[in-house]
């Protein structure tokens, strides 16, 4: 919410929104996914007819890509299509706001190197979440939004590779999932950064859980918490 306010928006909390149904849907249980997603769909479409900003890449992808399919042939079909069109991932949304309405002093930097002066001296390393990266085109947006917030960032090697969360994949095939996380963590740590930033909370929970168990000194932050520095105060 603060990130959105910092970007000059007046967000409204959707009280009844709870779960998009993805865990059940990705496991093959469409009926159950619909049942869980329906109250969220209702709440979102009742709350406002404006953009629906979601702070989790995979939830945003579920709502914008799969809800129309999930609700197809039900009384909520049209509603789901409308909400899908309005759903935006947070960093994509913030970054699009930056384009249309440059925020006061925030630098319009294309790359981290051009950002001046950095808000925090220590650069962060970005973890691209797959859904955000491939489904929503958030890779550019996350970087632009971070740059605008005055934060320096680093791209890790193998940045396009999945961290191994994959929802229930992480518990159905835990060994493969953890092997994927380990490789990802090693690549993130190889950058020398101490803070990992992503626009997907679920990737972060997975990576943080594994890093904690391995005793790695990495911190994990959702991009939203860094974007709070965006706006009039950025860069000071």
């Amino acid at each position: 919410m603060q990130a959105l306010r910092a970007a000059g928006c007046e967000p409204k909390d959707v009280g009844g929104a709870f779960c998009c149904g993805q865990p059940a849907y990705n496991s093959g249980f469409a009926k159950e996914a619909r049942r869980v997603a329906k109250p969220t769909l209702r709440a979102v479409s009742k709350a406002s007819s404006g953009d629906c900003v979601v702070a989790s890449g995979s939830c945003a992808a579920m709502m914008s890509h799969y809800w129309p399919e999930l609700f197809a042939g039900t009384p909520q079909a049209a509603e789901a299509r409308r909400v899908a069109e309005r759903t935006k991932e947070l960093t994509v949304y913030v970054s699009s706001r930056l384009e249309s309405e440059p925020v006061n002093d925030a630098p319009q930097a294309e790359s981290a190197a051009e950002v001046h002066p950095p808000l925090a001296e220590e650069p962060v390393v970005i973890h691209d979440a797959c859904h955000a990266l491939r489904g929503l085109g958030a890779a550019e947006a996350t970087r632009r939004a971070l740059a605008a917030s005055g934060r320096r960032y680093v791209n890790p090697p193998g940045s396009e590779r999945c961290c191994g969360f994959g929802g229930l994949f992480s518990v159905k095939m835990p060994d493969v999932s953890v092997a994927m996380a380990d490789e990802k963590l090693d690549l993130l740590a190889s950058t020398g950064c101490e803070t990992v930033v992503s626009c997907d909370l679920s990737c972060l929970v997975h990576l943080e859980g594994r890093a904690g168990r391995r005793g790695l000194a990495l911190r994990f932050e959702h991009a939203a918490s860094l974007l709070e520095g965006i706006g009039p105060g950025a860069g000071k």
Binding site: A24, R35, M173, R210
Partner: protein, 463 residues
Amino acid sequence: MASTTATEAATLNSFNTRARQALRDERLRDAVARSTDLLGSRRVEALSELANADELRDAAAAIRSASVSRLRSLLDEWSDNFTALGGTVHWARDAAEATGAIAEIVAASPAGPGAVVAKGKSMASEEIHLNEVLASAGADVIETDLGEFIIQLAGEAPSHIIAPALHKDRFQIADLFTADSGQAVSAEIHEEAAYARDRLRRAFLDAGVGITGVNFAVASTGSICLVENEGNGRMCSSLPSVHVAIMGMERIVADLAELDVMLNLLARSATGQALTVYTNLITGPRRDGEADGPENLHVVVLDGGRSAALHSQYSSALSCIRCGACLNVCPVYRQVGGHVYESVYSGPIGAVLTPILRPDDPSARELPEASSLCGACTEACPVQIPLHDLLLKLRLERAPESATATRRWGFRLWSLAWSLPLVRHISRVLTRLGLRCTRVLRRLPSRGWPGAWNKCRDLPRAR
């Protein structure tokens, strides 16, 4: 139903069991990561040499889906043209018909049922387990692609569509070659290749029958196109007096212009080459005035579950041109390699194709679960097969009947509970509370999915 669910539970465990074994094999994981990184980066580089790569990819996707949707007329046209040139077509609805037809061809060849059969790389032949059938009929079948030769000696299955022996290192290969020759073959890669060249050259010259796969059939000309790097495909299709090519029935294009589009993408996507070393376009058997080439040319067209897939929501999987690009970018394949899939086709395309082509095989049913649905495969596919969406569709179609009872009831109860506002509220409060007591929760004994998380990962902390 009870037996199905029990089987599903057992097989899911078995994928995990096999994966655990593969994960312990550091040598295997290094080899897979190294090879797939190399192939993957070469693919990107090779595609960048095309000024209109995106346009070609769109066209290739359109060409393949158009072919798949009008297979009946394309196959009809192709077979009329091919037959008019003097070729013989064998229509095989399943593996038994295909292997039966080929065994008959071998038996009727001048060298008879005990013929030396020189075989080029063919995924379709792996599907029908051709070698076992021919060997039991007395033929001496020898794989001539270097990678296939290695795994034939090892008695294993290919672990990658285009790099079948990717999982073997040169020391293991030296042992296999030494055992094959009865003389020491050193673990020097060039010497190993030289050994294979000499050994297989004899087989080519002795072979009574050559067997290859088919990359594309061309309907308008009655041709078959075969691409390869080593020259063994040329040998198999040129030297023996009988050449048999096995083709999955969907591997067809309308004309040479369509073939050109596909050739521009196939090798680039597979190995990062602009074209493979040999692009063979074969149009009928030897003709008058030619001193070599097979007198008899046969093509076995294999259905093998494909026609059923055509009528399903998975028909786009038949667009596949077997380039292996999806394997090279798959993070799951990267960790465990190809054998864990226990299927001719591994990686994302294997997880899609295997359950489609073998709907009754319980061990194929778990494969769609072997994906984090990250979408890297879909992004890499040169013919734009929506692989991760197909994996999801397979789960959606099959999970409600075939999942374990625990899982079905779990999702049902969970969804019913979370459709109640009060329960959602309580869940929220409990989650907040739980996030503050992870130290305690972590100590609690846990089984199933929570246990799977807890075993090697910490619980989330409060933010």
